[in-house]
Structures are given as C-alpha cells and as structure tokens.
Assembly symmetry: C2
Amino acid sequence: MNAKKPAMEVPECKEQLIAIKDTMILLSGKWKIQIIGWLLLYGKVRFMDLLRGIDGIAAKMLSKELQELEQNQIVARTMMPTKPITVEYELTEHGKTLSGVITAISTWGVTHRKFLFKKES
Amino acid sequence: MNAKKPAMEVPECKEQLIAIKDTMILLSGKWKIQIIGWLLLYGKVRFMDLLRGIDGIAAKMLSKELQELEQNQIVARTMMPTKPITVEYELTEHGKTLSGVITAISTWGVTHRKFLFKKES
DNA sequence: GAAACTGGTTTCCTTTAGGAAACTAATTAG
DNA sequence: CTAATTAGTTTCCTAAAGGAAACCAGTTTC
C-alpha cells in the first residue's frame, strides 16, 4: 500500500483562512480581546477602570494596547476637560461589530469548562 | 468640576471575561486558530498537507502546535500503517465546537476588509 | 546506490511580548 | 506643605515565541 496521493486538492475556501489571519493580526496578544470584552460589557469607561478591572494588566500594556486598538479604529478615545483630566474609552461602531467574535469566544470558554468537568467526573 | 467617581460598579458579568481568558490561553499564538480553521474546512488531513497549506509555518511550529491541540483534546492524531507512514489529523467532536468561534473570526475579517475599503474610497 | 518521500526532532538564534518599578505633570484635598 | 488623584511614559529586564536549517529513520522509486 502506497501512501502517496498527488497532494491535496486545495479549493478556494482559502479566502476564509486569509480572513482569519487578518483578524488575528489585529487581535493577537494577551490583552486586546479582554479589553474589547470589557468595553462591550461596560460601555464607556476610563483608563483607571480598565487598569483596575482587567486582572493583572500593567499600565504600560494597557496604554499600548489601547493605542493600537485606536489606530485600527476599534476603540475611540475621548479626553474630558475635567480636573484632574479624565479620558474615556469606548468601542467605535466598527469595534462593536466584534461582538459576535467576543461572545463566540466567551461562550466557547463556558462550553470548554463544562467539557473538562464532564470528563473528570 | 471634579472627575472623581467612587470607582466603577463592577457587576457579575465577570464570568464572561474569565471565559474569554480561558479560551485565549488555549488558542493564543500565531498558528493555532489558523490550523483549526484548516481542519474545519478540509476535515481529515495529513501533516504535509498542513505544512504546505498553511502559509509560512515551519515544521517545528506545526508539530508543536498540533501536540498542544492534541493535549487539549481539540485535535485527534491517527497514525496509518502505510509505507511510508502517514499521519492524519482532524478535529475531535470537542474541537468541532470551535466552529462558531472560527467562523465569527473569519466573518469579521471580511467585515473589516470592507470597512477599510469603504474608508479609502 | 542516489534521491525523494513520509513525519517529524534538534539546535541555534533573533525577535517580540510582557512585567515591575520608577517617574512625569497638572491639579486638588487635607 | 504633603499626599493623592488623573493618565500615562520610560527604563530595564526576562521569558516566551518563532524561524532557518540541519538532521533522523524508514521506505520506495529511479
């Protein structure tokens, strides 16, 4: 018996794989999806809300990730002329279109937890 | 005007944020989601199919990522007694429950591309 | 016998991600 | 005057991720 097949036929579903790659370039890393999840749940929040709310994140990271999300027009930043100054972050309209992705990820996390629980019992 | 609010009220939506974190621990990195996307589209495939099909991945990476996905029971590995030996990879039943996540990511990639196109025109 | 196929592993290296802590400026409350 | 608030930035460091190339064993084809 010979294992040789001439190589897989690769149909044009490839578009979808490119789209996956595109998305993951924007959202990769430890924090971005968590930040977006926060903004989806809580709406318009301040820098310090995120810093205190997202477990374990450092100011440097939060600042950097928010800048990147802003550049990609997923997050909007608003400076308020209060004293001391406050800055508010929220999802843009485009950013809100990520809700399907975030809820799918969140839902699967629950599914996976149930799966692990079922196995060990 | 004083910006001080006593600190955000943080309701119990936090479960969802934990679930997001759980999921991303399993799927983080440059390749895992792409691999799963491939397996969703093509079903049962061989090591070399993935190596040649996923643009830019190195054998070391593919091998390592597949091992991790197997450990987490997302991917199943089958050795076939052909000559030369062939190995087939496919999603487990549990792995297939990721299809919602993957299609959401893929769909959003398309949405995002349209968004960028609309802006520049 | 040489080359090519299978599915990897090993080594060595570079790049990136990420974290801790200190520091800034402007302002206010005590 | 001191301490604390806001929203960050800067520096220094380590750990992890990732890539290129060589290598391996077993088998088959030329």
